[in-house]
Subunit: 223 residues, 2 copies
DNA sequence: TGCAAGAGTGGAACGACGTTCCAGCCCTAG
DNA sequence: CTAGGGCTGGAACGTCGTTCCACTCTTGCA
């Protein structure tokens, strides 16, 4: 196949799916989902829309490739010699931080599941849960639940983060929500009314890890 | 305010935000997010685009209202006299089934959080976790994690469900994924290779409930 | 009763988007 | 040296969200 030589000889900055995905990720990070445009992408790559379509099927394909790229980079470097619990925590935090750094990934995960990196996550969680002593009949359900928990909660967090990513302050936004919650009335919403004050001060990352730990405690306590 | 009389006198089928949201939900259920169009909505309501914009700010506003409508209907009827665990399960299943029935809600939750129905869910889970004996310092984190878990996992499930909602068979789709997983090679993916066979046969609803139960077990075992 | 004002409507028009199409480039095989 | 195809760049098409405006109908006021 002469394609490889071809590409390199063609242009110094030859077009390729990797370069397109890379540029797409930069645009998505900069301005969210709406900022990714084939026209903008073509301009950034100094080419035309048609050239991009030679390497990428359509926008959904491009978004899927970008999502896979981000998640894959977050999961590949897993060092599993720190014990099952810490390994699971490390993988989960890697996914969480990746989605937190690229909030559009969260929304994409809710649209297109079964990304290419999913088996990596599944393998990491499943093998460690097995090492943790989870019996065989519960292993599949437990692993599925943990994977969905990590992806889902991280996506929820990214959705929240997008609110105060646009320049507004995080504490200010959460403070506004807390005020609304506090106004709900203690008779019908006693709990919400009470914990509203804790909303602005909490740490999302710590809360995420606490959730994973609660889940792990449940898994190990179940047998 | 004469608006109410106004509306009823104006047309027999007077336009209102409720009727617009109702029609939007029907269109979203029928064909997913791409099927919701202001032109289609105008035709279905026998009016023009401008009339819709009088009641709705923009498409995001309409999607948020539709999402809120679905979630609110799923949470409102909570009978809480069956014990904390069962009450939590009931609320969680209500959210799960609502998102399962309206898969576009899952994608919407990942884009716009803090829906109006969120305090209801928070109140339900939080008060029941308190009744379950969760100590005060852990209550906020535990409730947040549970809410995010339910919303996130239900959204993940809906994303999967949309794959085989377009006419293709569920078992066939999962069978294809299972084949890919089984081909991954037992040396690098021993766990994925092994559990691939369980993929097509599992029940999403049961697995979701199992995840909630594992979480609850962790919460009660933590003290 | 007549009339100005405004709530509410319907559809034309605008700009931007995803996507398709195609004429042409340049490299390579023969 | 030439034919063919991988690859490019940009014009063009149809559809979308949104805006704009002329218009209708009702209501409050004189």
């Amino acid at each position: 196949m002469t394609t490889r030589q071809h590409r390199e000889a063609r242009r110094a900055d030859a077009l390729s799916k990797e370069r397109i995905v890379e540029a797409a990720i930069e645009m998505l990070d900069a301005g969210g989902e709406k900022a990714l445009t084939f026209r903008g992408l073509a301009e950034r790559l100094s080419t035309g829309s048609g050239a991009i379509y030679w390497h990428v099927a359509n926008k959904d394909d491009l978004l899927a490739a970008a999502t896979d790229c981000v998640i894959a980079h977050a999961v590949t470097d897993v060092a599993g010699d720190a014990g099952p619990r810490n390994t699971i925590r490390t993988i989960a935090l890697g996914v969480f931080d990746a989605i937190d750094a690229h909030p559009w990934v969260g929304a994409q995960l809710a649209r297109r599941p079964w990304l290419a990196a999913l088996p990596h996550i599944f393998e990491g969680f499943g093998s460690q849960l097995e090492a943790l002593g989870v019996p065989e009949p519960m292993l599949f359900d437990s692993t599925s639940a943990l994977v969905a928990h990590v992806l889902g909660v991280a996506g929820q967090n990214a959705a929240n983060g997008r609110l105060y990513a646009q320049g507004t302050d995080r504490v200010a936004v959460l403070g506004t929500v807390a005020e609304q919650w506090a106004r709900l009335g203690p008779e019908r919403f006693p709990f919400v009314h009470r914990v509203a004050a804790q909303l602005p001060g909490h740490d999302d990352r710590v809360q995420f890890l606490a959730g994973v730990d609660l889940f792990l405690r449940g898994v190990t306590a179940a047998h």
